[in-house]
């Protein structure tokens, strides 16, 4: 049973000790990692995936339940408690969605009778995040970018069911992010988002701020931000509505932002 995962600070790119010496991520936490391009966000989640032990370029260490993670995690991929979705992650299989999910659920399910329910749950979850629903008989490779992301997230959450899920910049795929955050919160896991998206950042419990290869701050989402996050979401929706209008050859007017008020 994993209760906490701890990051013990290392050094920045310039070799200076990290300002934040220790961060404890607790089961159920939804966390964002933010920072400018090149600030070391991907490197930080690589440290997590590696269970770094002062043996990476950052010198960080990662503990599980306050101890060195068991060697088993490292040696047996089936025991690894982390699922990672990166910007480059995709499905390569050209099987029909249903066959693919059946194969995966068949490996993960404790009892064969669970397979069907797992597939249905995964599909329902994914379809809440996409505009166009995923059809079980279409081929994996025919899914759109957004459908692919949605299914990756749903599959990692429900079928893999690992206690820790890392997501590196998944926001660009046009999935319903507010809904995603709501749904993910129903599962007791640690979700870690690398993100440039204010919406995801404000819907997280706290955000880890990075600069120059180093963790500089941990900011808890405060009451003001929490209330304000609705407006941010609204603004974001208005922006995507405008994006759609442009796409469909319409003109924009000064009324577009009226919903904000």
């Amino acid at each position: 049973m994993i209760n906490t995962i701890t990051i013990l600070g290392g050094k920045s790119r310039a070799g200076i000790p990290e300002a934040v010496e220790r961060i404890d991520l607790n089961m159920g936490d939804v966390v964002s990692i933010v920072g400018p391009t090149g600030s070391g966000k991907t490197t930080l989640i690589n440290d997590l995936e590696l269970f770094a032990d002062a043996n990476t370029q950052t010198g960080r260490r990662v503990l599980i339940n306050n101890e060195r993670p068991p060697l088993e995690y490292r040696d047996n991929p089936a025991m690894n408690p982390i699922a990672l979705i990166t910007q480059h992650t995709t499905f390569l299989s050209d099987l029909p969605v249903v066959d693919f999910l059946t194969a995966h659920a068949g490996i993960r399910a404790v009892k064969k009778s669970q397979v069907e329910e797992m597939i249905q749950k995964t599909l329902d979850f994914a379809n809440e995040l996409t505009g166009e629903p995923i059809v079980l008989t279409s081929r994996m490779t025919e899914l759109s970018g957004g459908q692919t992301r949605a299914l990756l997230i749903a599959d990692a959450t429900i079928i893999c069911n690992t206690p820790i899920v890392l997501l590196d910049e998944v926001e660009n795929a046009g999935i319903n992010r507010t809904r995603a955050m709501e749904l993910l919160r129903q599962y007791r896991k640690i979700f870690i988002f690398v993100t440039h998206d204010p919406r995801i950042a404000l819907l997280s419990d706290y955000r880890i701020v990075m600069q120059g290869g180093s963790i500089t701050q941990v900011l808890y989402t405060n009451e003001e931000e929490r209330t304000f996050s609705h407006k941010v979401s609204k603004l974001d929706d208005l922006l995507s509505a405008m994006r759609d209008k442009i796409r469909f050859g319409e003109r924009l007017t000064t009324h577009e932002l009226e919903g904000l008020a």
């Binding site: 040696d75 480059h88 995966h104 079928i159 893999c160």
Partner: protein, 233 residues
Amino acid sequence: MKLAICAGPATTGKSSVLRHMIRKLQAAGDNVAFLKVDVQFAEEDEIFAKEFGIPTRKVYSGELCPDHCNVMVLGDALQWAEKSGANILLVETAGLCLRCSPYVDGGLGMIVIEATSGTNLPLKIGPMLSLADVAVVTKIDRVSQAEREVFRSRIQDVAPNVKVREVNALYGIGIDPLVDAIHNQADTWDKMLLRGNPPVGTCTICVGKKEIGWQAHFGVVRSLENQNFYRGE
């Protein structure tokens, strides 16, 4: 001397994996020598010599089965590595002959395959996988967690005793267990043997007879309808 033989199809990431391993072995105080076996072109020897300042060699197998070429030269190679002051010899071989095993008893057998190659690949590569000690799965950064798990279970289906290690050879994620496997490997001994049984032997095409159709050949032949059978004296 400890020996590891690293086989796998082209561009699966053998050199990338070995590069991370050499770096970590050097940091642990080991002296590594490197041998590259390929059919007709390779430059890893020059690259690794420059990058790590280690003794390196290459051989082109040409007409020989690359896996058997590896076995032919291995005796000399171990002596060469010893003379160059190395305590670990790493061999990278193309492993193109899917009937043969490129591994020897007394050396760590590593196959490198990429998670991106489709979930049926493990079913197609024969002894190169089933006779390995470790299957190193690269490019896990490119595929979904789901495909990673399906790929892994396909490997275990055909090779239940082979240890699976998943790596991202761009970032060097997952390399430590491979370094440990070499450290835990027993030293090589005299009179080591090729692992597994070589295939039925050469056919008359292998020795230069080019006619189309089994009727023109003898020894072990096959027709479209029948399995292999023996024709001739």
